[in-house]
């Protein structure tokens, strides 16, 4: 066993040939995809703005001024004008990125963990377990997602925390379903059988052989959910079920500026533009990742 009798000549000095792994290849493909790179940098910029909001915002986002209400875009000292209570729009949009991103990403992360785990268990174990988990998910599927989010938020009451809970519940079923279907495909492949034949326990097989082949697809799907989540979270705030005034949040800002639409339509549209750019960027990045990771081997 310990004597490597080789028909192939082993040159001791030769270093083992290193192959490019899957993720290295994905990165290389991404580097060539300009659209994804551009929108990826937009997403990155928005995230950085949210993190460094106190440094970037020119004014206090809560500071109201009755004499400076609804100033148009380009006003001296207020680059993007002021809102209906005279607060600086630019500062509010910068601070708003924090809450809007948080409320867009947190529910998806929660749902990724819970829904992903449920789906992988259902797909790997199969049989009755699969049926119980997936039928429970189907119950949630029976309602349109917006309606479900509004219903749960309404039942729990307004507030950021409750909005995140309700959005998490909305995203668990689709993530569980995607995880279940990719896991079912993988578990029927021979290499999972080979791993079982080697005597490995179910958890080891899931960790080594299933997760590595399933997480990519689930991750991609969840990035595409972020854009939906941002829109839904803004929608909840718009309806008064998410954040409460005077918190700067894009959806809520859209709601409060609604009355100003005849006076200053550009101003009223600004939070909507931010929601649009953010969700579009997340969506295109997710698309780019999907095509970069779709390597036919």
């Amino acid at each position: 066993m310990n004597t490597p009798i080789a028909e192939a000549n082993i040159d001791v000095a030769q270093v083992a040939v290193q192959s490019r792994g899957y993720w290295t290849t994905v990165l290389q493909r991404l580097r060539r995809d300009r659209v994804t790179l551009f929108f990826g940098s937009v997403v990155l910029a928005i995230i950085l703005v949210a993190i460094f909001a106190p440094l970037l915002a020119p004014h206090d986002p809560y500071h109201a001024s009755m004499i400076k209400r609804l100033k148009p875009v380009g006003t001296e000292g207020h680059l993007l004008g002021t809102d209906e209570t005279g607060r600086d729009m630019l500062s509010r949009l910068i601070y708003g990125a924090r809450l809007s991103l948080f409320m867009g990403i947190m529910p998806v992360i929660n749902a990724l963990v819970i829904g992903g785990a449920l789906g992988i268990i259902a797909g790997f174990v199969g049989g009755r377990t699969n049926m119980i988990i997936m039928r429970a998910m189907d119950v949630f599927y029976a309602f349109p997602s917006v309606l479900l989010a509004i219903a749960i938020s309404g039942a729990l009451g307004a507030g950021i925390f409750n909005a995140i809970i309700s959005l998490t519940l909305v995203f668990i079923p689709p993530l569980a379903r995607v995880s279940e279907s990719v896991t079912t495909q993988v578990r029927n492949l021979d290499y999972v059988d080979a791993a079982r034949a080697s005597g490995a326990r179910a958890l080891t097989i899931i960790r080594v052989h299933v997760l590595s082949n399933v997480l990519g697809a689930i991750f991609i799907y969840s990035t595409s959910l972020i854009s939906v989540s941002i829109i839904l979270a803004s929608g909840l705030s718009f309806l008064g079920l998410g954040t409460k005034p005077p918190e700067p949040e894009w959806g809520l800002m859209l709601n409060t500026l609604r009355q100003a639409i005849y006076v200053n339509p550009v101003l009223a549209a600004l939070p909507g533009v931010m929601i649009f750019i953010t969700s579009l960027s997340f969506n295109l990045v997710s698309d780019g990742l999907r095509s970069a990771m779709d390597i036919k081997v």
């Binding site: 066993m1 310990n2 004597t3 490597p4 009798i5 080789a6 028909e7 192939a8 000549n9 082993i10 040159d11 030769q14 270093v15 083992a16 040939v17 290193q18 192959s19 792994g21 899957y22 492949l189 021979d190 290499y191 059988d193 080979a194 791993a195 079982r196 034949a197 080697s198 005597g199 490995a200 326990r201 080891t204 080594v208 052989h209 590595s212 082949n213 081997v297």
Partner: protein
């Protein structure tokens, strides 16, 4: 006193064992008793079982230490199901598998223990390798599962890679999609050997390879068998390959064993009409000797509702009334060679017109 009696008793048993070894009557390493697997077909409103696919229906055989048992049969006859049942990738409905004298199951040998003794090489060389793992990780996975430290498992992977004829330095960090079919199948063989098993199940292991590569891998398998003192169960639909590698052959038809015996005897004088038809379907190397008419007509019957009596009677040229009523049992037809067949025509006194007369004395 008692210790002395043991000391006296042991040597004769051992010598008997050695004598047996020399005469070819080696102890069975694997013995399979009445293994059964029906796959239920559910339907109707209440999702009740409405029928069963009788994939493997009561098969029994033995594999002796160090031999190669070939399993042949048409597609759908239960060859692969048998392999998966042996590996316990599918739970059998009933029947025992005994390895080295220990029954696999709750009270005998654990599944983990069994899997150290027996490993499997799958047909699809690509689907049986995880695309995200390097060759090194794939081969080292099994030993690490069984508690071998990582460094040692990796050394073992390198050694095995050399053993299957691939340069470890060139292949150890590669991914399956970068290799050819033959190279991938060599990796699969190395992976199976990483647990140092005694028995290797080869389920159509060379069928997907092209002929020249197939020959190389077959020769590799023979070398490994010699070097590691392995026992093979070789499943294939290729009768030439089975003839080349096997010591004994088992012929399956619709989930049952119809004939089993030494390869030369079976290929020279098949007793069961199905085996005869199967062997005559083998393409001949001599153009003057080509088959003019198909030896068998039609498809095998549906295993959901197999024919009554002898399962082959619907296609058998010698079928008589008896064949559809009573199913034949596997009986010894050539005591010297150890050839068994399940056919009324070879069973004395079965009532079939071609059956040999029952001898008065045994």
């Amino acid at each position: 006193m008692s210790a002395e009696s043991i000391a006296v008793e042991t040597p004769p048993a051992e010598t008997a064992g050695h004598a047996g070894h020399r005469s070819g009557e080696r102890r069975a390493l694997v013995s399979v008793n009445d293994l059964k697997k029906y796959f239920p077909i559910r339907g109707g409103l209440l999702n009740r079982t409405i029928a069963n696919v009788q994939a493997v229906d009561g098969i029994s055989f033995e594999v002796k230490r160090g031999e190669t048992l070939g399993i042949v049969g048409e597609s759908g006859c239960g060859k692969s199901t048998t392999a998966r049942l042996l590996m316990r990738l599918i739970e059998p409905d009933s029947g025992d598998v005994i390895i080295d004298g220990k029954r696999v199951g709750a009270d005998g040998m654990s599944l983990r223990g069994m899997r150290r003794q027996m490993q499997m090489v799958f047909q699809d060389s690509f689907a049986s390798l995880n695309p995200r793992l390097t060759i090194e990780d794939t081969i080292a996975f099994g030993p690490m599962v069984h508690g071998v430290p990582q460094a040692e498992a990796r050394t073992r992977a390198r050694d095995l890679l050399a053993k299957v004829g691939l340069d470890p330095n060139l292949f150890i960090r590669r991914y399956p999609h970068e290799l050819s079919g033959g190279q991938r199948q060599r990796i699969n063989i190395a992976r199976a050997l990483a647990l140092e098993p005694k028995i290797v199940l080869l389920d159509e292991a060379v069928s997907a390879l092209d002929k020249s590569v197939e020959a190389q891998v077959l020769n590799l398998l023979m070398d490994l068998k010699r070097d590691f003192e392995l026992t093979y169960i070789f499943i294939s639909h290729d009768l030439h390959v089975v003839h080349y590698v096997s010591d004994r052959v088992l012929v399956m038809y619709l989930g049952q064993v119809v004939e089993i015996g030494p390869v030369d005897e079976i290929y020279a004088s098949p007793r069961h009409p199905y085996t005869q038809a199967l062997l005559s379907a083998m393409p001949s190397m001599d153009p003057d000797n080509r088959a003019e008419k198909p030896p068998l007509a039609g498809d095998p019957p549906n295993p959901i509702n197999p024919p009554s009596g002898c399962r082959f009677h619907t296609r058998c040229p010698f079928a008589e009334d008896l064949c559809s009523k009573r199913s034949p049992t596997l009986e010894l037809v050539d005591a010297a060679a150890g050839q068994f067949a399940a056919c009324h025509m070879t069973s004395p006194g079965s009532g079939h017109s071609k059956a040999p007369q029952k001898r008065a004395t045994a």
